[in-house]
Amino acid sequence: MKAFARLLDRLVYTPGRNAKLRLLGDYFRTVPDPDRGWALAALTDGLPFSFPVRRTIMSLMERRLDAELFRLSRDYVGDTAETVALVWQSSRTEDGAAPRLADVIATLELIDRNQLEPQLEAWLDQLNATERWALLKLLTGALRVGVSARLAKLGLAQAFDRNVDDIEEVWHGVSPPYAPLFAWLEGTAAQPDISGAPVFRPLMLANPLEDGDWDQLNVDDFLIEWKWDGIRVQVAATGDDARLYSRTGDDIGRSFPELLESFRFNAVLDGELLVVRDGEVAPFNDLQQRLNRKAVSRKMLDSYPAAVRLYDVLMLDGDDLRERPTGERRQILLDWYARTAPPRTDVSDVLTVSDKASLRELWSNTRGIGIEGLMLKRRSSPYLAGRPKGHWFKWKRAPLTLDCVLMYAQRGSGRRSSYYSDFTFGAWRPGENGEPELVPVGKAYSGFTDEELLELDRWVRAHTVDRYGPVRAVAPELVVEVAFDAVQPSPRHKSGVAMRFPRIHRIRWDKPAHEADHLTALVQLIAINASMNQ
């Protein structure tokens, strides 16, 4: 537990991504099997158990500490598990032996529920405060140390100087504690064999279309498709087994049993997960109802029918097609689909565009017809893992913009911890006394350059009118042009609206605050959206 606890303890306080990767890498390189494999499991797909720790530790505490002292401590710390970790009087001496992570896991895998309390007590006695905290986190099954599964795999790749996509490629063919995976990474064994298993293949991602790309663009070189507002998924099926993976390789099939049932083919396909009713794509919000559900009711299946709109094929009947050009794979996909047409799937259309002028026109109309934008895929590109430059482009519809007034600022974290870089801005509305007042409509942390950040930071410090803890209220004098992708009604916000992906597009040093936009302008945008989705 020692090294594992130290790792979690450092990770939880470390804001920087590179520093986190370094800590993870050092851990994976220096800690032996099988401990490091269990740690990897805890940081990625999770451990095969979780326990109702709260009740167990409360029952333990009752015997160990006066209830009033525990209550006062709990009130101060704010977290029950951490409080227990801190108040526990351990009998361990400085160099005493602590149980190994692998031993803890082995015991937990077999433990009888009514043995949990005495076992936990014995462990807590053998651990120091940080280790006790790590153990309790482990038992709950959710570490919450600011590390995504992807970041953990990146750390692993970095530790052994490998490409993370090579790890993703074998990931679903190996299981905790991953001894064959580590052996391969260390060069003492061959790559784990994943042939015949429905494993995740790293996705090919698109880059945003920049001005320079546009200038060089020749429409005949590209397949052009609508950009769908769903979730990118990969279907991996072997005929008798099927999986549905998210873009990052998380297995999300459990929430979509009707899809898995339909996938009786042997192929790896790329597509968009959507809710489709009578051939019409439902709003993204409908799809959200289906995500992250462990059990799916009949009613759910009927009200929110899921489908996959296919746009690429990576493997077919055991053949790896990823080296073939995009245009050729498209034809293979169409031929295969014509033969098989699995239920709950269709194929994304390719749009016919004769020249750049009509391409731009098509793009300009996307917002009007409720489409997110366009995808441009170079016909000659192989299927390359990651986000390679110059192959696939996404061309999102132009953002909406609104002139808002800066209201509050807060310092960022990590590298930005000395800068006021998190901004809350507002729009005008009529106040109670008839005078216009500002109401907050959103928060933004990005969109500005480093130089602009310096200027904003200086401005905030010079125009602070009040402080609430870490938050500074500023004089309502600076206008920022906020760009956002969409706006939705939201009863949770004081303004009644919520922006999707707001960022600071421009700082309007020149514009007087009273000329900034009114809340009604945002509300009207909701109305326009709603009528489009009818």
Partner: protein
């Protein structure tokens, strides 16, 4: 006026001759205050931290080190009259005899031992029991009434071995040699203790200081406490990548720190035991190093003094008073004005 109406003094009833008034803790038969927070005619000062040692008193009695610290911080005219007494030296003030005993908190820190009519009260000021190479160790003084602090008066506070905490810091320096390590410390006591601990761990490179820490470090060195190669961060010719830099807590996250190379923010304080407190301050590497007694030390010290009556000042009084009840001792929360969470 908050001063209670003068009651007849009963030596057995401490509350009749030692009680808090609007200036601080007042000793009636000696006519002086202990660590008053506003100016008074006569003050006994336990140690040099700003919430205990204030300027403007008519007369101040303290250890030579505390007097010297007050002079460094507030100038030689910080009180009408400055009187030094050594640890263990008895002084008669009015009807009481006053002795100062080492408190182990910082250089010069003292407990105030007040003997009156055969009864003894000890006002401990701030104290700790952990070893500290920059000051004299705490001395147990048996007494009838013990006035204790309770800065860390909750069972969650167990300070780690300071050597292990310093090891964490040096390990991080080795792990991230391309980043500056910026350590927030209180300028008086914690700063110098931490430097000594770092030196004892074998680190002999220069340690860089924020300007606000310089004067007191120079003073400690003049008192014979060697701190090694110290330099001013403002004199550095580069961004101090891979170097140790010490600053007051307030400079940790402000513009001052921008001169450093992607700094790892470190904070050495007893509060760092609790994750929420560390995160609140945006600390990347919390070090639990404190100059105050932790929960087990508070309880052990109370037991060691043999006192039957315990008064609990600044901090989390509720839990400690509750604990005293469980131990069959008479505990009372003494709410003094003007105490802050400095130097924890």
């Amino acid at each position: 006026m908050n001063t209670p109406a003068p009651a007849p003094i009963d030596p057995d009833n401490f509350e009749t001759w030692l009680y808090p008034d609007r200036h601080g803790l007042y000793c009636v038969p000696g006519d002086f205050h202990i660590d008053p927070h506003t100016s008074v005619r006569r003050a006994v000062v336990t140690h040099g931290h700003a919430d205990h040692a204030r300027p403007g008193h008519g007369a101040v009695l303290a250890t030579p080190e505390t007097i010297a610290i007050m002079t460094v911080r507030m100038g030689s005219d910080c009180a009408g009259q400055l009187q030094t007494v050594q640890y263990g030296e008895q002084t008669q003030i009015g009807d009481v005899s006053v002795t100062l005993a080492p408190a182990g908190h910082i250089l010069g820190s003292a407990q105030v031992v007040v003997d009156y009519a055969g009864r003894r009260a000890v006002v401990s000021g701030d104290y700790k029991r952990q070893a500290d190479p920059t000051c004299a160790p705490y001395e147990v003084v048996p007494c009838d009434l013990f006035v204790t602090e309770a800065t860390f008066g909750l069972p969650v506070f167990h300070h780690e071995r300071p050597e292990a905490e310093v090891e964490k810091l040096l390990r991080s320096l080795a792990d991230f040699p391309e980043r500056s390590h910026l350590v927030g410390v209180y300028g008086l006591g914690k700063c110098q203790r931490l430097i000594r601990l770092i030196r004892a761990a074998g680190y002999d490179r220069p340690i860089w200081l924020h300007g606000a820490l310089n004067a007191l470090c120079t003073f400690y060195v003049s008192q014979g406490i060697a701190l090694g190669d110290l330099r001013l961060a403002s004199d550095a010719e580069n961004k101090l990548a891979g170097e140790l830099v010490l600053c007051p807590p307030s400079a940790l996250q402000d513009r001052w720190s921008r001169r450093l190379q992607d700094p790892v923010t470190v904070f050495a304080s007893g509060w760092m035991r609790v994750r929420g407190r560390a995160r609140q301050r945006g600390v990347e590497l919390p070090l639990v190093v404190s100059d105050h007694a932790d929960w087990p030390e508070l309880i052990a010290t109370i037991v060691d003094t043999g006192a039957r009556e315990i008064w609990v000042t600044h901090g989390r009084e509720d839990a400690l008073v509750h604990q005293l009840g469980l131990m069959g001792l008479r505990g009372r929360a003494l709410r003094l004005v003007g105490r802050e969470e400095e130097s924890a």
